[in-house]
């Protein structure tokens, strides 16, 4: 009996104090993903990485906005979003108290504006992302001219870039291919003249 009592006193209380005292969690605990919308550039890397599609993005070109949303009810707390985030805007926190009464409280949204293409004027990418890329590129530029050129490249939409490339390449190629065509058949190839 005495031995048992001794054992009980030695062991102490095993039960945690949790609801009455905060629960300590271990290092690198994967809790609720905390999104800092100020640092987010809406690049959609987390959206692609999320295996459960808890993080989703919707682009509305008519309104010129992109809506980022996370559903904590669908999240499996794998931490892929945190790994893929280029700016560190999303990070898994220590918070595990996620129980809610209504399902609507499980979602969190952030609305970002889209930037217009410098060439065609259509919205194509989030303004923050364009700005971030432009600053990152001009950081490693060697001259002010190059920085301006890179900034313009970042602010141009892929379709316009492609069109410019085609134009550029076609302009380069015509002279060279005309020479080749003339030397072989004596007249220039027809289709080359119609390229933009």
């Amino acid at each position: 009996m005495l031995k048992l009592l001794k054992e009980i006193f030695r062991t102490g209380e095993a039960t945690v104090k949790y609801p009455f005292a905060p629960m300590p969690v271990c290092k690198d605990f994967r809790g609720k993903p905390e999104h800092k919308a100020e640092d987010c550039i809406a690049c959609a890397a987390c959206t692609v990485a999320c295996p459960a599609n808890a993080i989703q993005m919707e682009t509305d070109t008519a309104a010129g906005s992109r809506t980022w949303s996370i559903n904590y009810g669908r999240c499996v707390f794998c931490g892929r979003c945190e790994e893929s985030c280029p700016t560190g805007a999303i990070r898994l926190s220590d918070d595990f108290e996620l129980a809610v009464g209504s399902k609507a409280d499980l979602t969190r949204k952030a609305v970002f504006t889209l930037a217009d293409c410098a060439c065609c004027g259509k919205p194509f990418a989030p303004a923050k992302e364009v700005d971030y890329v432009a600053r990152l590129l001009s950081q490693s530029a060697r001259s002010a001219e190059e920085a301006d050129r890179l900034r313009l490249t970042a602010a141009t939409c892929p379709a316009c870039k492609r069109a410019q490339d085609v134009h550029h390449i076609a302009g380069m190629g015509i002279a060279r291919q005309m020479e080749a065509g003339l030397s072989k058949t004596g007249k220039p190839a027809k289709e080359l003249e119609t390229t933009p």
């Binding site: 009810g73 707390f77 996620l98 129980a99 409280d105 499980l106 969190r108």
Partner: protein, 267 residues
């Protein structure tokens, strides 16, 4: 002939279970004045059993949900709280509804785990209903994959009205002129990428990034306070202070990368 079939026409849609007003008032009265134990019946609707393991660990002596009178019972006829786990597969729909009907009114329905809340990672699978709320009215959602025992206790406290929920729906709208800060503007971009890549190669994605961040803070600290220390001395000091030999090795390797970059060598 391949005529596209609308999948909704293949499923017999049944109207979700609705509760009458009388039962709603009874439930309110129960929550306001519950002066006895709350019995829990656990309904497994096709989960992976991760949630069940966490439920059982929350009734062990360490978390001890029974000190609040929360007791897991073997029959839905004894239950006050029904705990639905799993993404509700097609074949578990009827048993889940039978358990719901068998429990006496007023009953509290708790949707447990990511699968129970929204279908989780299985939300768009052909053979699941995608969440408990598609078949029965749910009172409390406990997300998590699986929820930790502490989260389970918090969820029960929310279900019984003892604690307030912490999460609220929020919408952040981008302010005019809002820009994301450029990380480590003093370190050349090419070097930053090399450091992050090396750290992540050695320590994994998340820890690698943390170590690279720490290291770059050290580099920037050197740039801002040029003292009598040289860069390599400073690195050696940081490596010497590190207790964990694995981290020390990674920091040593990162220091090498910096020296390589200074000498102009390409990796």
């Amino acid at each position: 002939m391949n005529v596209p079939v609308d999948p909704k026409t293949l499923v017999a849609e049944m109207s979700p279970v609705s509760t009458s007003e009388q039962i709603a008032t009874m439930k309110k009265a129960l929550l306001k004045n519950i002066q006895r134990s709350a019995y829990v019946y656990r309904v497994d609707c096709g989960g992976c059993n991760g949630c069940e393991i966490e439920i059982f660990s929350s009734i062990t002596p360490v978390f001890d949900a029974e000190r609040f009178g929360i007791k897991v019972v073997a029959s839905p006829r004894h239950a006050d709280i029904l705990l639905f786990t799993g993404a509700v597969t097609r074949s578990m729909r009827m048993p889940a509804l039978r358990a719901y009907e068998a429990a006496p009114d007023p009953k509290i329905v708790v949707s447990y785990g990511a699968c129970g809340c929204t279908g989780g990672i299985f939300h768009d699978l052909y053979c699941v209903w995608g969440g408990t709320d598609n078949i029965v009215p749910v009172d409390v959602y406990i997300p998590g994959c699986p929820p930790t025992p502490a989260a389970t206790i918090h969820g029960f406290a929310v279900a019984l009205g003892l604690l307030e929920q912490k999460l609220k729906a929020e919408t952040h709208v981008e302010a005019a002129g809002e820009t994301a800060a450029l990380p480590h503007p003093d370190i050349p971009y090419a070097l930053r990428v090399r450091l992050e890549r090396e750290a992540r190669r050695m320590a994994g994605y998340r820890q690698g990034r943390d170590i690279a961040e720490e290291f770059m803070a050290l580099l920037e600290g050197h740039a801002h306070t040029p003292g009598s220390f040289s860069l390599s001395e400073r690195m050696l000091e940081a490596i010497g202070e590190e207790r964990d030999p694995r981290r020390a090795e990674i920091i040593g390797r990162l220091a090498e990368v910096v020296q390589q970059a200074i000498r102009g060598e390409t990796p």
